[in-house]
């Protein structure tokens, strides 16, 4: 068993989930079964293999440049409303579960 109830509680905390007692024990079972399966990756020697985070660096890049310069096509000038207008205030707030005219409203954060 790689993952214990305690691990599940810790990870749930990191993920901002609470989980019921039943969900937690189900999670212990499922995560262990998936991680056992995932263990087959350890059968591969990857000591000289670079990690791949994305496929975008395989095309469109300017090979003559270094670092982020290679991705010049993906960058743009940092202009106010450069690509589209910002959302009007009331539209940006329209989906909020709780808001006043100007701000999203949340339970009190700072105790004093």
């Amino acid at each position: 068993m790689k993952v214990t109830e305690k691990d599940v509680a810790y990870v749930a905390d990191l993920a901002n989930l609470e989980l019921t007692a039943e969900e937690r024990s189900g999670m212990v079972r499922d995560l262990n079964s998936i991680l056992d399966y995932v263990d087959r990756l350890n059968g591969l020697d990857t000591s000289n293999v670079p990690p791949m985070a994305q496929v975008s660096d395989r095309y469109g890049v300017d090979e003559s440049k270094q670092g982020s310069e290679r991705f010049a096509y993906a960058s743009r000038e940092d202009e106010l409303e450069g690509l589209r207008k910002s959302l009007p205030h009331e539209e940006a707030l329209a989906n909020a579960p709780d808001a006043d005219e100007d701000f999203f409203r949340v339970p009190k954060v700072i105790e004093r």
Binding site: V11, Y37, T46, M52, R58, Y59, G60
Partner: protein
């Protein structure tokens, strides 16, 4: 004229030649939805007002004798993970039950600019996480070919609607097979474009380095028309590629004679259903008869694809889904006292079991002490899987495989075993990991009349070749 069995071209020209109005075409599809969708469950939301407004605009163009754009008057459906301005977008989740996006997904905007009439939003697995559509927080989708079976997932509603003539064409999304696998299960065409070919702007993110938007259609030509419409650089998505978009339709009828097709034994091993194997082998023989040369290739890291995928996809998902916190949008639990309690309870109430499972697995794989062993390891194996394809594509123009190891399974058959469900994607996750394009095209049925799909994988940005092969195959069967 049967208004609900038309292809894109037939529908568009009927409207252009004023044999039928776009309005009548939309109404005919809504009539069909009314009649069929109670049993199938493919739609989550209908956008009738928006659809009829667009139909009216198209009819006015036709009345003025103007040529219609490529999708002029064509009724379409959009998977509910793509944002639609003013039309509820849930991602199949309760956490977004009331979400009305203030902007349009680029792919949807391009479809509408090309004249498409958006009928509504298609049911899917919650946040596109699933292979059967049983993870929808609203209701499952049933396979129109056999309602006791799943339509596949996660774009199950998108596939079922096309199969049941409730839309001419739909958009789906594919992170590990979510377009091709349901296309295979429902007997329609499903296209995964190259990563970066289609903008992801406005697509609710599941795993950003793996998410793709693509069409589900009745014919390969329809899929090509839609790809031509939605492909191309979009400044709103920095990963959308600045690579020229060819005329995919014009390329369809070019000859396939002399093309080299790779067959990898890794896709014909244990777990492959006999009937699927026979059907796919017969399809490969057919392509050979059409003048293609069959070349054995090796993709040795294929057995590592599922574990690699489930580590990378869940890690990215755990980060992407952190945004659902009950503040700017999304469900908020009531009666909460503190901010932390609000986050937890809102997410607990809003997310379903599979989404929680994946957030947990992804968070675990990224957490201190496990990052190198799981996430980094998976990223390295992703490199190996991609190199397999690079190597194979030095020898061949395309690779042919089954889309799925089996035909559509029954509702409930795998829903209690996450791992068994994940294995349904065994032949499809590789293309997402490598970022290469793939298409599923129907190649036969089982004895129980369940559809079987042939998958054709291509080189980066070479959708033309796989579309041409699929089109030629489709025309010959």
């Amino acid at each position: 004229m049967d208004l609900t069995s038309l292809t894109i071209e037939a529908a568009r020209s009927a409207v252009e030649e004023r044999k039928v109005t776009a309005l009548a075409l939309a109404e005919a599809h809504y009539g069909r939805i009314q009649k069929e969708d109670g049993q199938i469950g493919a739609f989550l939301t209908l956008s009738k007002e928006r659809a009829l407004e667009q139909a009216y605009r198209i009819d006015r163009m036709a009345a003025e004798g103007k040529p219609l754009p490529p999708l002029g008057g064509v009724p379409v459906g959009i998977k509910d993970v793509m944002s639609t301005r003013g039309v509820r977008t849930t991602a199949g989740s309760k956490i977004l039950e009331k979400y009305i996006p203030p902007y349009d997904c680029t792919a949807v905007a391009r479809m509408e600019a090309a004249g498409a009439v958006v009928l509504g939003k298609m049911n899917c697995d919650e946040f596109a996480m699933g292979s059967s559509n049983e993870n929808s927080a609203y209701h499952p989708v049933r396979n129109p070919r056999d309602p006791s079976r799943v339509p596949g997932g996660s774009s199950g509603g998108s596939a079922a609607a096309v199969a049941a003539d409730m839309a001419v064409v739909t958009l789906g999304s594919d992170t590990g097979g979510s377009i091709r696998q349901p296309a295979s299960f429902c007997g329609v065409v499903g296209l995964l474009p190259t990563y970066g070919r289609v903008s992801r702007y406005g697509l609710i993110a599941f795993a950003s380095s793996l998410d793709h938007i693509g069409p589900l259609a009745k014919t390969v030509k329809d899929a090509a028309i839609v790809l031509s419409t939605i492909a191309g650089r979009d400044p709103m998505d920095s990963t959308s590629a600045d690579v020229p978009v060819p005329d995919y339709v014009a390329e369809l009828d070019k000859p396939v004679r002399g093309m080299k097709l790779g067959v990898a034994q890794e896709y014909f091993g244990e777990g492959l259903d006999d009937e699927v194997r026979q059907s796919v082998e017969a399809a490969i023989d057919k392509l050979k008869g059409l003048g293609c040369e069959i070349v054995p290739v090796s993709l040795p890291h294929t057995p590592y694809a599922i574990p690699t995928y489930y580590l990378i996809a869940t890690a990215e998902a755990s980060a992407n889904l952190a945004r659902f916190d009950g503040v700017r949008y999304s469900h908020r639990a009531s009666g909460v006292k503190t901010l932390s309690e609000m986050y937890r309870r809102s997410r607990d109430e809003g997310f379903g079991a599979e989404v929680k499972r994946r957030i947990m697995l992804g968070t675990y794989a990224l957490s201190a002490g496990y990052y190198d062993a799981y996430y980094l390891k998976a990223q390295k194996v992703r490199t190996l899987l991609t190199r397999d394809f690079d190597e194979a594509f030095r020898k061949v123009d395309a690779i042919v495989t089954p889309t799925c190891p089996t035909a559509a399974f029954r509702l409930g058959e795998k829903s209690n075993d996450p791992l068994a469900m994940y294995l349904a994607d065994i032949y499809t996750v590789t293309a997402d990991l490598a970022g290469i394009p793939g298409i599923s095209v129907p190649c036969g049925v089982t004895r129980e009349k369940l559809p079987i799909g042939l998958q054709i994988l291509g080189k980066h940005f070479d959708e033309s070749t796989i579309l041409r092969l699929a089109h030629t195959f489709e025309q010959a069967t």
